[in-house]
């Protein structure tokens, strides 16, 4: 099936420096593709290319399979974008929301209805007559979203739309956006450096680091089986330690890590070195010495080295013969009476763990 938007052999330069190189990227009809990566990774440059706001130095952008050259304005009018700063004009909210429609020559009679509908959909109908300069950050971004959706675009491009907002506003807007997207199923590209946003909204995730795509795939896959260390760090998977493959049978790998052995379900690892990856949430702690319930194959004696509390979550850094991190609730912390120096049993399933080949630092082109 032809992708809605694609990049082929694209390279973008700033002066002598190459800031983006994407041999291939497809944005599929109806999906939400999150572009995840640290600041300076080239995410904005990528969105600029997709939004046809910038012509790459090399390669081509395709819309529904056809190169876009020569029809940029017409195609831009089938898309809409929302940026991190709301960039509203110095006029009323409703005038701002209707801006894109005015640019396309829609008569006022039609415009009024559309604008009103989308103002209501994003809960800013009451602000219709207010000057856009007198809105809070959250209100302004809602208006910016309404402005984009009012165009009923075929493609929606969002470049870190919530990064400048405080946490509660961010969360509220993510939910609202998720709702609307659920209804409308517009092809969407969502750029962010917050992995929780990507995890919440995306069908597929593209991890971009230093101008290169490290991994593109369904959200679950990227988040549980990162392709390399960099991606792992970015999706919140801890790289626990380096180990050596001791045995492998039908995908069940026995890995020697530190002075212990762990079992991991992984394919393609028959011998040699590998990095053990675990999500902190998948490591379960139980008091030392007790019979451990559950289906986990890995139970390791560990000593608590450090406890970091942030809000309701607690990160417990352990020494299980190799460094390990577990994420537990405050309640569990209190119940178990954990403190630095305590002994615990750290358990995780063979399926929860993930292996990355040692020294794999880039996806081979």
């Amino acid at each position: 099936m032809t992708a809605k938007l694609s990049l082929r052999d694209v390279a973008v330069r700033r002066g002598p420096r190459e800031v983006l190189r994407v041999p291939e990227l497809d944005v599929r009809e109806g999906e939400l593709l999150a572009v995840l990566g640290p600041n300076g990774a080239g995410k904005t440059t990528l969105v600029q290319c997709l939004a046809l706001l910038e012509r790459p130095a090399e390669g081509e952008v395709r819309f529904e399979g056809e190169p876009v050259a020569g029809r940029e304005l017409a195609l831009r009018r089938r898309m809409a974008a929302v940026f991190q700063e709301s960039l509203l004009l110095n006029r009323s909210v409703e005038s701002n929301v209707g801006l894109g429609l005015t640019l396309r020559g829609m008569p006022a009679s039609e415009r009024v209805g559309r604008v009103a509908h989308w103002l209501a959909r994003f809960d800013v109908a009451a602000l219709a007559k207010r000057s856009a300069k007198r809105l809070s950050g959250g209100e302004a971004q809602r208006v910016s979203l309404a402005r984009a959706f009012a165009l009923e675009p075929e493609v929606l491009l969002l470049d870190e739309p919530f990064s400048a907002l405080d946490q509660p506003t961010r969360e509220a807007l993510i939910e609202q956006l998720a709702d609307v997207l659920q209804e409308t199923r517009i092809t969407t590209v969502f750029v962010t450096h917050h992995r929780d946003e990507a995890a919440r909204l995306a069908d597929r995730v593209a991890v971009l680091v230093n101008g290169r795509l490290r991994q593109v795939g369904p959200t679950d896959e990227v988040f549980t089986t990162p392709a390399d260390e960099t991606v792992a760090a970015y999706v919140g998977v801890e790289v626990a330690a380096a180990g050596r493959v001791v045995d492998e049978t039908d995908g069940l790998v026995v890995l020697e890590v530190g002075d212990r052995e762990v079992e991991v379900i992984a394919h393609g690892f028959t011998a040699g070195e590998a990095l053990l990856c675990l999500r902190a949430e998948d490591v379960v702690l139980s008091p030392s010495g007790l019979e451990v319930p559950g289906s986990a194959r890995n139970h390791l004696q560990a000593v608590v080295r450090r406890i970091v509390t942030s809000g309701a979550e607690v990160r417990v850094e352990l020494d299980a013969g190799f460094p390990l991190v577990a994420s537990i609730t405050r309640r569990s912390l209190e119940d178990m009476g954990l403190a630095v120096g305590c002994s615990v049993v750290a358990s995780f399933k063979a399926t929860a763990a993930h292996l990355i080949a040692r020294g794999r630092d880039r996806i081979d082109a």
């Binding site: 940026f83 640019l103 165009l151």
Partner: protein, 232 residues
């Protein structure tokens, strides 16, 4: 000091009796300088937008030239334009010398760098991602230019006021290219100079007052527009 009071009295007399010559001169000042400001605005907007929005080799030089242009002595501009428009000059065949059109040209050259510099500042003060956002909403190049100008309308109005002020108060170039011809190219500033050289100080002061009133009224109109926008 009594000279000034005489002048004030003369000014009232002129305004009360509606001296036709003076009204004609004042109107011409307004039309000539207004046209020059209008032309300077067109040039200023195009050049200002190019300088504000585009990066090109030599941009810094161009901006420096514009800023230098703001300090151009008007009489030097007048001399150069006159040399071009004299019969003996390259554009002599246009027969523009000693005409209001020549004055408009000279005043445009004087006002354009001012308006350009103000426009560059006005457009440069807009959020840098505003333009891509507007393009991303489907604006064409012309639509985008129009939108940013409207968005920057407050400092742009200041640019117009500055340009008009420079044009209407200019005298050296206007005399040189206009010739101060009665009924044709005489404006308020050139009349003041003439009256002074004739020793007619009361009329000179009266004309000065009328010129100040004219400038004040124009700025009053522009400022009300500007402040009205601000309060929206």
């Amino acid at each position: 000091m009594d000279l000034i009071w005489d002048g004030v009295g003369e000014a009232f007399r002129i305004l009360a009796t509606g001296d036709r010559d003076v009204w004609e001169i004042a109107l011409r000042s307004l039309l000539v300088s207004g046209s020059a400001t209008g032309l300077a605005l067109i040039i200023g907007i195009l050049a200002g937008a190019a300088l504000a929005f585009r990066r090109f080799p030599g941009r810094n030089l161009a901006v420096t030239l514009v800023n230098t242009g703001m300090g151009l002595p008007p009489v030097v501009v007048g001399l150069v334009v006159a040399i071009l428009l004299w019969r003996s000059g390259p554009l002599g065949d246009l027969n523009l010398i000693y005409s209001p059109a020549a004055m408009v040209i000279a005043q445009t050259v004087i006002a354009a760098p001012l308006v350009t510099a103000f426009t560059v500042a006005a457009l440069g003060s807009l959020p840098p991602r505003l333009r891509p956002q507007l393009y991303a909403l489907g604006a064409s190049r012309l639509q985008m230019l129009w939108l940013v100008l409207v968005e920057a309308r407050l400092p742009l109005l200041a640019a117009i006021m500055a340009g008009f002020g420079a044009a209407v108060s200019e005298v050296g170039a206007s005399i040189m290219v206009g010739g101060n011809l009665k009924g044709e190219t005489r404006v308020l500033t050139t009349s003041v100079v003439q009256e002074v050289s004739r020793g007619e100080f009361a009329p000179a002061i009266a004309l000065s007052i009328i010129l100040l009133v004219l400038i004040f009224l124009v700025n009053l109109v522009l400022t009300s527009v500007q402040q009205h926008e601000r309060s929206l």
